[in-house]
Amino acid sequence: MSTDTATDATSLEDRTALDRLRSSQFLSDLLSNRLALIGLTIIVGMILIAIYARLAYDLGALRSSQLGTVADRLPPGWTGAGAVDQHIFGTDASGRDIYKRTLYGAWIAMKYGTVTVAASTFIGVALGIIAAYYSDLTDNVIMRTMDVLLSFPSLLLALALVAIFGSGLWKVVIALTLVYTPRFARVVRGAALKVLEDEYIEATEALGANDLRVLAKHVFPNTLAPVTVQSTLNYGLAIIDFAALSFLGFGAGPGMPSWGLMLDNGVSNGLLTGKWWMSVFPGLFLAILVLGFNLLGDGMRDALDPRMRETVD
């Protein structure tokens, strides 16, 4: 379909980044995609919720048990029959307000998710570019290592790493970073290889530009698009995997208003006795946020240059 703007080697260096962005076909395709815009809205909405929760609520207060002062397992305020108005999502097994904890959960999800995705993107991009650009041996060593990591199903690899590192939110960040990095490395390597195939790179080199310059000015910017797409899609995955590990008991410590942990508590404390609100709300928020990332990521992938599209997972 449409191709990216970097067709003319000389004009590429003349235009500023902003110009390039503004006239980018990628961006215009993306913004005309309604579903992608919905996704973006969801994400921005969640960010605002996360920031609000972080500023308005005190983590210590949210974590501590309210038994004794507040009744536990109260249904949501609007259902009547024994519910208390101020708890619009009800309370959990320790009497804590689910509404506030769910909102704070957005902050936790996005905070740790961002770090994980940023770290794996950064490392993966570095590895991918190095693998693509340098010698066969470097390429092979790096990519075989990535292959080894990729031969484990991702949740299982994360669990195995947790077995070594131990539990805890930051340890999960490290584990998931290791799990996701290979994907980025692969994507970037694929994209970088395609860029390097273009003749103008050889021309630039013939003109005497050194390695780093070539990498920075030509290879890297052109891998930006698929990397961004991969990051966005991976973000949703990070949130799901994070919550999964907390659900299994390896991530968030007890009391933390992490969605995964709240789901675990909701399942063990309320599922069979019909106390649906303990599981429904955290899961709903989580699903919506992940859906947002997937919608946006999908739209981004559709707007990508078809050459690049194949490289994205």
Binding site: S65, G166, G168, F250, G253, P254, S268, N269, L272, T273
Partner: protein
């Protein structure tokens, strides 16, 4: 190979068909149902009348064997050899299949009674046991002294042809027999003599531990002479107990036991017992309430409330023989060698609040290492009062007002401590209010925690202990004796260096020469009156020197369904569960 075991259905059905067992659960007409499933729904599984296989037999005592008892628990071990594990989860089952020479009276708090033995004496370094005659294993063979000898040799004797092997034998191997028994003689068909390496008073009680279950020599010799061969007994255990081990269903995590009609003792009163596994506490509690489980254990506070509030099941409890504590590491922290500091820390923490709020009343406050049911528990002792002011002045007096230390803790609930993290946090905040700062070091797995604490790397740690045999030595020696000779200690010594300590389960590294001498004495004194006096004194010293902050003695909680005849089931703090006595309504 692995998947299942020899099928030894001696009483029930013919070959080839699956067993669908009718259960006599109250109010349940169409079979067993499942948690959450409405029993009137047609989609129920077996037992809807077409394939009932209700066995009504009578055993030797004329007891009516009918019905199936279902016991739900949270975990499914796969090995039921009493010599290969220290896990209480395994003991629950092996106690139905095997018998020990000496047993505990159900629900008595550790009182001894006959097992397979009719008489026993302990004189100096000789223990003589006389077996009852006419008791048979599940294979029909009579129990003789040779079986006892083979059993013990398999556990501890490397020279025995059928030795279980160092890799397979459990941590109880040395503690139960290995450290004490030098040789065993079979004096006559029904008489066995143990020759001990020293006078050892707890030995009789060791014979009542589940790990001391008597196994069949015939079976031991039939499986083969290598440790791997011997290990297979774990999947087809054969004993003298009230139930035979019918089936080990690992893929569905269940066990089927069958009533042994030739059982020598009282009962069994049900035809079958099924142990099934439901990991989540609430689900298990719900299963009990629905009537698909008759008895369950290890409920947490919420599920206890759930059961209590239901009309169909109830909660029964008994004080357990266990203790929960925070140990001070005397080897690492000099300040902890001063009793004033330890008492101060103890007094600063509101332990009754911990017991009442965090443990929600399912425990009592502790004041000494021995729980109340054990010989030598000193009733004159009281928990240290909660007095932060006095605590503060004591600290100043000792010159340790700016004390700070690390508190190690495990994360997952254990019987003596249902909320370790909350407990640690409570301790931390209580101490902070008198100016002592505490850093909590949390471990996610119990094994790594044991590794850390047994290596002495903690400043202080939360731990606890369940009794093995209800003997005072099991607490006072195992947990607080330094494992060295009293003669090597000086009179004013307060601690021992970790490398010199010879007792791994002592995580306090505390030393008090008088205490050590008393405990050594108690270990070798046979007269119960004298032992009691010795231990009363030792308990006083342990209380005064406060090597631990004593926290709690936890209750044992069980849930039972109304279809169980409540008079026939008692909670036992050691030994048991005595399922052969249980009757269904």
């Amino acid at each position: 190979m692995s998947r299942d075991t020899v099928d030894r259905r001696t009483f029930l059905k013919s070959a080839g068909a699956a067993t669908v067992v009718a259960t006599s659960l109250a109010g349940c007409s169409s079979g067993d149902g499942d948690s959450g499933e409405d029993t009137t729904e047609a989609s129920g599984d077996g037992g809807d009348g077409t394939e009932t296989d209700e066995t009504t037999e009578q055993d030797d005592d004329g007891n009516d064997l009918s019905g199936t008892l279902v016991y739900s628990r949270g975990d499914h071990p796969t090995n039921y050899d009493p010599q290969q594990t220290t896990s209480g989860e395994v003991a629950k089952v092996t106690n139905q299949v095997f018998d020990t020479l000496i047993d505990f009276v159900p629900g008595s708090g550790g009182q001894l009674t006959d097992g397979l033995a009719t008489e026993w004496t302990l004189e100096e370094t000789t223990a003589t046991v006389t077996l009852k005659e006419g008791i048979t294993f599940h294979n029909g063979e009579e129990v003789t002294g040779e079986d006892v000898r083979a059993t013990v040799r398999r556990f501890i004797d490397e020279d025995y042809e059928y030795f279980l092997g160092n890799e397979n034998r459990s941590g109880y191997s040395s503690v139960t027999f290995g450290d004490w028994v030098e040789s065993i003689d079979v004096l006559s068909e029904y008489e066995v003599q143990f020759n001990l390496s020293q006078q050892y008073a707890p030995f009789v009680r060791n014979l009542a531990m589940f790990a001391a279950a008597v196994m069949s020599k015939a079976q031991i010799e039939s499986v083969g002479a290598t440790p791997d061969d011997q290990a297979t007994i774990g999947t087809e255990p054969q004993g003298t107990g009230p139930f035979t081990f019918e089936e080990l269903d690992n893929s569905n995590e269940r066990i089927l036991l069958s009533g042994y009609s030739d059982f020598w003792g009282e009962g069994p009163n049900v035809a079958q017992v099924i142990f099934k596994t439901i990991g989540a506490n609430q689900t298990r509690a719900q299963d009990l309430i629905n009537g698909d489980t008759h008895i369950t254990d290890n409920l947490d506070a919420q599920s206890i409330q759930q059961v209590d509030g239901s009309g169909s099941a109830s909660v029964v409890q008994k004080n357990g023989i266990n203790v929960g504590y925070m140990a001070f590491n005397h080897a690492r922290m000099e300040e902890f060698r001063d009793p004033r500091v330890k008492r101060a820390i103890t007094m600063a923490v509101n332990r009754s609040a911990i017991v009442d709020d965090i443990y929600q009343g399912f425990a009592t406050e502790a004041d000494q290492p021995l729980p109340p049911d054990v010989l030598g528990h000193n009733d004159d002792l009281e928990p240290y009062p909660h007095d932060p002011d006095q605590a503060q002045s004591l600290l100043e007096e000792a010159g340790a007002s700016d004390l700070s230390f690390e508190l190690a803790t495990f994360s997952n609930p254990r019987g003596y401590n249902p909320s370790p993290l909350q407990t640690a946090n409570q301790i931390k905040s209580d101490l902070e209010s008198i100016g002592v700062s505490v850093e909590i070091n949390q471990f996610s797995t119990f094994s790594s925690y044991i590794d850390y604490t047994y290596g002495g790397r903690h400043d202080a740690c939360l731990l606890g202990w369940y009794t093995d045999n209800a003997d005072p030595d099991n607490f006072l020696y195992v947990l607080l004796h330094p494992g060295v000779d009293a003669s090597e200690l000086s009179a004013d010594q307060q601690h021992i260096a970790w490398e010199d300590k010879g007792n791994a389960s002592n995580v306090a590294a505390w030393v008090n020469k008088d205490y050590v001498e008393l405990v050594d004495d108690g270990q070798t004194t046979y007269d119960e009156g004298s032992r009691r006096d010795i231990y009363l004194e030792a308990s006083q010293i342990a209380h005064d020197d406060a090597p631990w902050m004593f926290i709690d003695y936890a209750e044992l909680i069980r849930g039972i369904h109304q279809s169980v005849n409540a008079d026939t089931y008692t909670v036992s703090s050691v030994g048991g569960p005595y399922l052969e006595l249980v009757e269904l309504n």
